[in-house]
């Protein structure tokens, strides 16, 4: 498992010299949390660049395998952000995602992946600040954990 990007196909250098810069994949739903991330942008609230955002229509689409795949391909952390309960565009996809997350976090612990490396939370379209705060906390938390060793 890779934890630096020196041998990446894009040839990109991700790690800053001297400090561990975690790579985090964020799965965001189109209607609430992705819009919340846009809101952080519109409000120009700075947050660390470590999270790469993947848009899905609903967090209900997220297969646990996607999260495992991200860890396998070198992510140090995974973020899943859903609509608040009751606000899901598809009624209850966010609740399915929450159920799957509860199950997955046990599996991850058994695999030796610390709990704080995979965070599930709710962000509405208006919560730009909350989104920036979650990313900031997540990056700091994963930095403390250090690179995810194979």
């Amino acid at each position: 498992m890779k934890n630096t990007a020196n041998n990446s196909p894009t040839g990109t250098e991700i790690a800053f010299p001297g400090e561990f810069e975690p790579r985090i994949v964020g799965f965001l739903c189109n209607w609430c949390s992705y819009a919340g991330a846009d809101k952080a942008g519109m409000s120009q609230i700075p947050y660390p660049p470590n999270v790469q955002i993947l848009r899905v229509m609903c967090t209900g689409r997220i297969e646990p395998q996607f999260i495992l795949k991200a860890f396998e391909r070198g992510a140090d952390g995974v973020l899943v952000l859903a609509c608040h309960p009751g606000d899901c565009h598809y009624k209850e996809g966010n609740l399915r995602a929450a159920q799957r997350q509860a199950m997955l976090s046990r599996v991850l612990e058994q695999m030796g992946i610390a709990r704080q490396r995979c965070r599930f939370d709710y962000v509405s379209a208006g919560e730009g600040e909350k989104f920036a705060r979650i990313v900031t906390e997540m990056v700091a938390g994963v930095k403390q954990c250090g690179p995810l060793k194979p």
Partner: protein, 651 residues
């Protein structure tokens, strides 16, 4: 694969933070990118023309657009692609403005992040499929279930616009509850008088030819979806030709049998052939087969038919149940509500004590066409000396219905006002938990009741504090330990609750109910006239307790939605982002059926596999994630595409 990357500078918005050349350089090593073009404003007219020209000139197989949020301009660029002759789903947008340029201070970090995001998009877009939008032709007719104020208003609005309306009503008459009320809050307008012009429009008006009214009927089966519903309606026989009958009522008197009249709270009796009530429309009686001796005993009685001044054939004993089939493009549910069962409150004596009545039964006592011809009397036929109204029976009560029903206070204060005239000497008591009279007219009856010197008001905390018991000449209400109130007549104001058939209809249509059993609206503030199911609309008290104002407004709103989005002959374009089951892989476990929030995945019993209805599916992808065999493909968000994107963004 020929893949072009288009990088929008968004003026200085992106260019100031992300150096396009640095991004280009990082991506070139990758080899998956065929060209990299920058543009000052890709969404501007010049930008769109440039993109269209470039697509036509280079004919890429896939493109990636790095610009603003796809929530902003994805559809803009998809339209440009269509104009250039390219399938619009062969594109992936990367949000480098909101999610990178505007939130990063360090240009080097921003460029790295943008390059990785585009790398993810390149991986993903290679797997994109040229999805095709499906088009569906729309039927213009509209089914309205329920002919109360909400359904009538919707029917009149649609008919005036030239739309065919099928109006199904389960009772023999139209008008709903308010036609039983001679005076309505807030300003004592006569209910039947107010609704008569609207009912007249429906029955005989200029646009009535567009309306097919089917009384004594219920919807038995619904199949299909927005634009194309197949509906089966079962109509009970009326045994009277509604078009030829003149409604004179000569047939009632000779009828040899009668039974308690539910329309008047069983306070009087009704013959086997009768109106629901005098003045009901359509103006034709019906025969109750549970009562008429021809049906109960097989007699050959023809007393009613013989008395008919219009001659033979108006009363039709050979009338039969009919099963009607109709095709409609949209459905409005306007089935109304009913009142909470007061016999659940043992302490209030309803059903046990003869002079404990519901507000609806009291309404009939007040009505001139009611059982006492408008005289307010007790079960012994005496004028009551005192009347107690118990408000909030079941409403604002965690053990029953936590919500305020919103209409009962006004009804009780209306009664107070009417009693000032009818029984000027009577003492009136209001026992309430809360008083709620919102709106610009709601205060007047409340103020008048407060000013009535013979009215008293007492607030209780819980209905359990009250007990109603028989006393000499009437009832007494014990209130707590000390207070005792004499009441010759006790009137309960029950909560408004969903109609008895709401659940059955919900199951038939696959629309959802809220936690109280009302039909659930698409959105509580913005979309109350829409259900969660496309093509099914909601009007009136079946969605939430409603007064006439709210019900008719919602009926008009539902009609408006239909006029703007369910248009005959037009085609409905269906976004191709839906799920599809691979029948070869499906084991028939039906997990997908249970997780779908829109009942779009159904089990095909014959083939033993599940299948997705592309019209009902909204493309959330929950079923694809749940399928243990990965037999469901979520179009445009397939497992392969998402995994390719994960690999790409991780570099």
């Amino acid at each position: 694969m020929k893949t072009g990357v288009y990088f929008c500078n968004c003026g200085t918005n992106i260019a100031d933070k992300i150096d396009a050349d640095a991004v280009k350089k990082q991506l070139e090593a990758d080899g998956r990118m065929s060209w990299f073009e920058t543009c000052p404003f890709l969404c501007s007219e010049e930008g769109k023309e440039f993109l269209e020209r470039d697509l036509k000139a280079k004919s890429p197989e896939r493109i990636v657009i790095a610009a603003c949020s796809p929530r902003e301009h994805e559809t803009t660029f998809m339209r440009v692609m269509e104009k250039a002759g390219m399938n619009p789903y062969l594109m992936q947008m990367v949000n480098i403005r909101e999610q990178i340029a505007w939130v990063n201070k360090d240009p080097a970090a921003a460029a790295r992040k943008a390059a990785l995001a585009i790398s993810g998009a390149l991986g993903r877009v290679a797997l994109h499929e040229a999805l095709q939008k499906e088009a569906l032709e729309v039927a213009g007719a509209v089914l309205i279930i329920g002919a109360g104020p909400a359904g009538l208003k919707a029917a009149a609005t649609l008919a005036e616009a030239g739309r065919k309306v099928i109006l199904v009503e389960k009772s023999p008459v139209i008008g709903g509850l308010p036609v039983l009320f001679e005076e309505l809050f807030p300003d004592m307008e006569c209910g039947p008088c107010m609704l008569e012009p609207l009912m007249g429009e429906i029955l005989h008006g200029r646009y009535a030819e567009h309306i097919e009214l089917i009384t004594l009927a219920e919807v038995r089966e619904v199949a299909g979806f927005l634009g194309n519903f197949e509906v089966k309606i079962r109509q009970q026989p009326r045994y009277v030709d509604v078009h030829q009958c003149i409604g004179c009522g000569e047939c009632f008197e000779p009828c040899p049998v009668s039974a308690p009249n539910p329309c008047n709270g069983n306070l009087d009796e009704k013959k086997a052939i009768a109106f629901s009530f005098f003045g009901g429309l359509p103006n034709a009686p019906f025969i109750n087969p549970a009562l008429c001796t021809r049906f109960t005993d097989g007699s050959d009685c023809t007393a009613c038919s013989a008395a008919c001044p219009m001659g033979e054939g108006i009363v039709r004993f050979d009338d039969r149940e009919a099963l009607l089939e109709r095709q409609v493009g949209a459905i409005i549910l306007a089935t109304g509500a009913c009142l909470y069962d007061c016999s659940r409150f043992e302490n209030l004596g309803y059903g046990r004590l003869p002079d404990v009545r519901t507000a609806l039964e009291f309404e009939r006592l007040l009505a001139s066409n009611g059982p006492s011809a408008g005289a307010v009397v007790t079960s012994k036929g005496l004028a009551p000396r005192s009347i107690a109204f118990i408000h909030c029976v079941g409403s604002r009560d965690e053990a029953h219905r936590p919500y305020c029903s919103g209409i009962c206070c006004q009804v009780a204060f209306k009664f107070n006002h009417l009693l000032e005239e009818k029984l000027p000497e009577a003492q009136i008591h209001h026992l309430y938990r809360e008083i709620v009279t919102p709106g610009k007219q709601g205060y007047a009856l409340h103020s008048a009741a407060r000013e009535n010197p013979r009215s008293t008001f007492r607030r209780y905390g819980d209905l359990a504090e009250l007990s109603v018991a028989e006393a000499e000449g009437g009832q007494k209400i014990r209130f707590g330990e000390e207070v005792e109130i004499a009441a010759d007549l006790v009137v309960l104001c029950p909560a408004v609750v969903p109609g008895a058939d709401a659940r059955q209809l919900a199951e038939m249509l696959d629309v959802t109910l809220d936690r109280f059993g009302f039909f659930e609206e698409e959105h509580g503030r913005l979309e109350v006239a829409r259900s969660k199911l496309r093509g099914v609309y909601l009007a009136g008290a079946c969605q939430e307790p409603a007064d006439i104002q709210r019900a008719t407004g919602q009926g008009t709103a539902a009609a408006g939605f239909i006029l703007s989005e369910v248009i005959e002959g037009r085609t409905i374009e269906l976004a191709p982002i839906f799920a599809a089951v691979d029948a070869e892989k499906c084991s028939g476990c039906r997990v997908c059926n249970s997780v779908c929030p829109f009942a779009a995945v159904n089990f095909d019993v014959e083939r033993g596999v599940s299948a997705v209805n592309g019209v009902l599916c909204r493309g959330c992808g929950t079923c694809a994630a749940a399928c243990p065999l990965k037999a469901i493909k979520a179009n445009h968000f397939t497992q392969e595409m998402i995994q390719a994107e994960i690999e790409g963004v991780l570099g």
